[in-house]
């Protein structure tokens, strides 16, 4: 059997259907890969070998009994550590939740399990998803498999690194300002932020409730679409869940046709501050889509330049409220409970010891933005800017079907480069934030390597609310054309990792 870890989810599914490999064999191959390379990548915070093999054996038994199984049954997956899984440690990358084992499954996990998907373990992330590099994790930085001296993106850097290091063919991420798409761009993989409300937030440890969206990560567009279909759909446990049919994402990924599709290049997402190699690959991808029959025009979204400041008021405001639940009373860390200190003191000591710098910065910023005297100037004004950004999108979608831009202004940066410069770090998410504020669907697809550093570049596609299938239509057309042009998928160029035993 050739290396099972190099297969796509679709290929693994075919091998299992044809009786050429069992889920236990496939799962074991990925666990072996994790054991061999994760010392240098550090994508996982927890590997649940026993649970994964039991899940795999169950799928094999059901298949042998002739049960009809879904297309991803038996395929392994890496789960971002921000989603609860019953009985499995869940930390959200924070010391304050070290050792916490949630007593319930998130809706995403419930659906993964129902589809027979095998959960290998929990992946590293910036603490409470606040960050763009995994450097804010309380448990160490994840390394980018393309260059171990660089960050894999964030907050979902563990998930993107796991799939680009062939530790898993699929992963789950969550996207509040780009935490699925930016890591996908930095690791040459596919990352999709579904429409807000298209996937359930139940059991997702909340960062900013009006923005958080779980979504699929994979090495191919079709794999991502199949995973999207599994996790998406109405959930009565999430009050902002959309009660509509899941957009036809799998069909769109299979079709991959852009002829006649109207594509708008966002004028404001390019130019100064953008790396030349990123812009070059982006332009070539746009030209390729034109050749494939898409009609490309330039569009202007003038308020996008205020998306970043508005986001850094809205997100901290919501986060400061959401993170108030970490009060040392009902779960997680408790510090200074010596019988003398009162609850408030214990709470303050616990939050000092349990939260990292970025979390403290954002909680204080949110507290400031919501305080009387500042509310109208900061939070209130940011909400108005949010309206203007949504209107920019609405106007653009009158002219075009989808909008495109680079996924990030630069390629993956070196570990340590921006950790003490919060503003430089925040600018990573310039292109991805507008879609979160407007709640629409967006994705990053690999479009080549930048000339100056040989690192992956992401092509960003934005589609209207509940038109997620358009993302896959563009991504799949691009993937097919580029794979043909390169004579293989981009991921085949990732350097071989040194294997430790």
């Amino acid at each position: 059997m050739s290396d099972l870890t190099r297969k796509t989810a679709v290929e693994l599914s075919e091998l299992m259907a044809g009786g050429e490999a069992s889920s236990v064999e496939i799962t074991q191959a990925h666990l072996d890969r994790i054991a061999a390379v994760d010392t240098s990548v550090h994508a996982f915070l927890h590997v649940d070998a026993e649970g994964a093999l039991a899940q795999a054996a169950d799928v094999d038994t059901r298949r042998a009994a002739g049960e009809r199984l879904g297309p991803l049954a038996g395929v392994p997956l890496a789960l971002k550590d921000v989603l609860t899984q019953d009985g499995v440690p869940t930390t959200a990358g924070s010391k304050i939740l070290e050792g916490w084992k949630p007593p319930y499954d998130s809706t995403v996990v419930k659906r993964l399990k129902a589809a027979g998907i095998v959960i290998l373990g929990k992946t590293n992330m910036d603490e409470f998803a606040m960050g763009s590099s995994t450097e804010n994790s309380a448990y160490g930085t994840t390394h980018n498999p393309w260059d171990l001296g660089r960050i894999p993106g964030g907050s979902g850097g563990g998930s993107s690194a796991a799939i680009s290091a062939y530790e898993a063919p699929l992963a789950i991420g969550t996207d509040t300002g780009g935490s699925i798409r930016q890591p996908a761009a930095f690791t040459g993989t596919v990352g999709v932020k579904p429409t807000y409300g298209g996937t359930s937030r139940y059991g997702l440890i909340a960062l900013a409730s009006s923005l958080d969206t779980p979504g699929p990560c994979a090495r191919t567009t079709l794999d991502a679409a199949l995973l999207h279909e599994v996790i998406a759909g109405y959930d009565p446990m999430d009050s902002t869940s959309i009660d509509q049919a899941v957009p036809p994402v799998v069909e769109a990924a299979r079709r991959g046709d852009v002829s006649g599709l109207r594509i708008g290049v966002v004028r404001e997402l390019g130019g100064e501050g953008y790396q030349p190699g990123v812009e070059a690959r982006f332009r070539e991808a746009v030209e390729l889509l034109t050749k494939l029959g898409a009609e490309v025009v330039e569009v202007s979204c003038p308020h996008f330049q205020y998306a970043l400041p508005a986001y850094y008021l809205i997100l901290p405001s919501e986060a400061s409220s959401n993170l108030a639940k970490f009060d040392a009373m009902r779960f997680g860390l408790r510090v200074g409970d010596d019988g003398n200190n009162d609850a408030e003191k214990v709470m303050s000591l616990t939050r000092e010891a349990g939260f990292g710098d970025e979390v403290k910065r954002r909680i204080m910023l949110g507290t400031h933005a919501l305080s009387s005297g500042y509310y109208d100037a900061y939070y209130g004004q940011a909400q108005k800017v949010r309206t203007l950004i949504a209107r920019d999108f609405a106007r653009a979608y009158e002219q075009v079907d989808v909008l495109v831009s680079p996924a990030t202004p630069t390629t993956a940066f070196a570990i340590g480069d921006r950790i003490d410069d919060p503003i430089a770090m925040y600018k990573n998410d310039l292109c991805t934030i507008p879609s979160n504020l407007a709640g629409n669907a967006a994705a990053s697809f690999p479009c080549g390597l930048a000339d100056e550093d040989g690192l992956p570049v992401g092509f960003h596609v934005m589609a209207p609310v509940m038109r997620d299938e358009l993302l896959y239509q563009v991504g799949s057309a691009l993937e097919t054309a580029l794979t043909e042009q390169w004579g293989g998928v981009l991921m085949s160029k990732v350097p071989e990792l040194e294997v430790t035993r």
């Binding site: 400041p309 850094y312 009060d327 997680g332 403290k360 910065r361």
Partner: protein
Amino acid sequence: MPSITREEVAHLARLARIELSDEELDHLAPQLDQIIGLVAQVSEVAAEDIPPTSHALPITNVMRQDVNVPCLTPEQALSGAPAAEEQRFRVPRILTEEA
């Protein structure tokens, strides 16, 4: 002229129930000042008559039927508690001596 002083940051930390040492304040206060400089750019946008958006999509309150559904057992609910006693969360004292 900083947009936020060290004293104001210390006050925010107290409001947010985060104990901060002097070293942490030295480190975090200038960073917060920079960040506030960035986010204050929203004031450049003329938006007097623009309605605020709290959620991207129109949402209404959702009610479910008032029926019993399976829920966590007391043991499960207390499984992550830092301290528990008699099927309850045990917490530090809430009132101060003077109260």
